[in-house]
């Protein structure tokens, strides 16, 4: 059985750390990779928005944003009550599950196309829309019991580097003329390569902070496999009952709701919640949820979408 190349880069990073190889990921490169990834996701969504902008899409976008808000609010109490995980880490993990995985989305697209199942072409826009609310909700959950002033909280929610870079990319992608094609090779063609290097660093980080995962190992594994099923059920229900999407569209929305971010949210959380244990969230989203969705989840979500749309 072969694995996705970007996932292998993550595993490679873990092996480098476990083998105690004398290697440190350059800090400047790490920040550059985050910058490119966040802008790339925003730009893709902006371009998709330009060619499909209408009122129905706005309403669908609002429903998708609500999914991004609801999922962290489901995940957070589970992590706090059953997992007994501290507030900052629970908020960080919850934000990861409210957001989406571009890798899982790409696999789902490939599955739908291989089975000739039609889907709405503007779905990249929903990928961007689902990235943002979860970050804001995660920061709010981490700080709602603190002493911070509302203005400071709002600043961190809407003006943290992750959200600003993605929104900036979205606005540029929407507003720019054809000249955007000249810069897209950097953000589109190199996306997978940049993602692979980013995941290499994520693997190094996850392995270096594996002790915390050992403490909550079995719980985190169970949580990381339950959340995709809860998210997919919510996504498929909204896609069928509220948005009236096609079978492929319902399956894609289920996949988006089921997946957990390992690109935008880790980048944003490292800025917004630097005290959180990022290896815990990365290990659960990338080490458990991503393979679970790819190997087990996507066929089940497609079955769910087919069942719901034929009702």
């Amino acid at each position: 059985m072969s694995l996705d190349a970007v996932v292998l880069f993550f595993i490679f990073g873990v092996i480098i750390k476990l083998a105690k190889v004398d290697f440190t990921f350059p800090r400047g490169l790490s920040q550059s990779l985050m910058l490119i990834l966040l802008l790339a996701i925003g730009l893709k969504g902006g371009i998709a928005l330009k060619s499909h902008a209408n009122l129905e899409l706005v309403l669908q976008g609002l429903a998708v944003v609500m999914i991004g808000v609801i999922i962290p609010l489901i995940a957070f109490p589970i992590l706090r009550y059953f997992g007994e995980i501290d507030k900052t880490n629970a908020a960080s993990i919850a934000a990861h599950y409210g957001s989406v995985s571009v890798g899982t989305f790409a696999v789902a697209i490939a599955v739908l196309e291989s089975q000739n199942i039609a889907y709405e072409s503007y779905f990249p826009l929903f990928v961007v829309l689902l990235e943002i609310p979860a970050i804001a909700v995660g920061i709010w959950l981490a700080q709602k019991q603190g002493q911070q002033r509302i203005s400071e909280l709002m600043h961190e929610m809407f003006l943290n580097a992750g959200v600003v870079l993605m929104l900036g990319g979205l606005v540029i992608g929407f507003s720019a003329n054809e000249s955007i094609d000249q810069i897209m090779p950097l953000f589109k063609n190199l996306f997978s390569g940049v993602l692979a290097l980013f995941l290499l660093e994520m693997g190094l980080i996850a392995a270096s902070r594996a002790k915390e995962l050992q403490q909550n190992g079995l719980f985190v594994i169970a949580f990381a496999m339950l959340m995709p099923l809860l998210g997919a059920t919510l996504g498929a229900t909204v896609g069928t009952a509220l948005l009236g999407l096609s079978t492929g569209g319902v399956a894609l929305l289920a996949v988006l709701a089921a997946s957990a971010s390992y690109i935008a949210v880790p980048a944003a959380m490292r800025v917004a919640l630097p005290q959180a244990n990022h290896s815990l969230s990365i290990a659960s989203s990338l080490g458990v949820t991503f393979p679970f969705n790819v190997l087990i989840g996507i066929p089940l979500y497609l079955l769910l979408a087919q069942s719901l749309t034929t009702l």
């Binding site: 496999m225 339950l226 989840g297």
Partner: protein, 68 residues
């Protein structure tokens, strides 16, 4: 592992095993889901047993002290 974590993992394991078993006639992935559920339940119980075993000597020492 705390009691709440044990209950949660046990619940997820049972849910996966039941859901995977129910859907198994429709999707091969469901068999995997069922297997994952069974593995979770087994690992959860084994983890709990090993924790109990590890804490046994302390109990024995405490009981001996009480006898003396």
């Amino acid at each position: 592992m705390s009691v709440r974590q044990f209950i949660f993992v046990y619940f997820v394991g049972c849910l996966f095993a039941a859901l995977g078993g129910l859907l198994a006639f429709q999707q091969m992935a469901s068999w995997t889901l069922c297997a994952v559920g069974i593995v979770l339940i087994s690992a959860n119980i084994l983890s709990q047993l090993s924790n109990r075993k590890a804490s046994m000597p302390d109990v024995a020492v405490a009981q001996n002290s009480a006898w003396r």
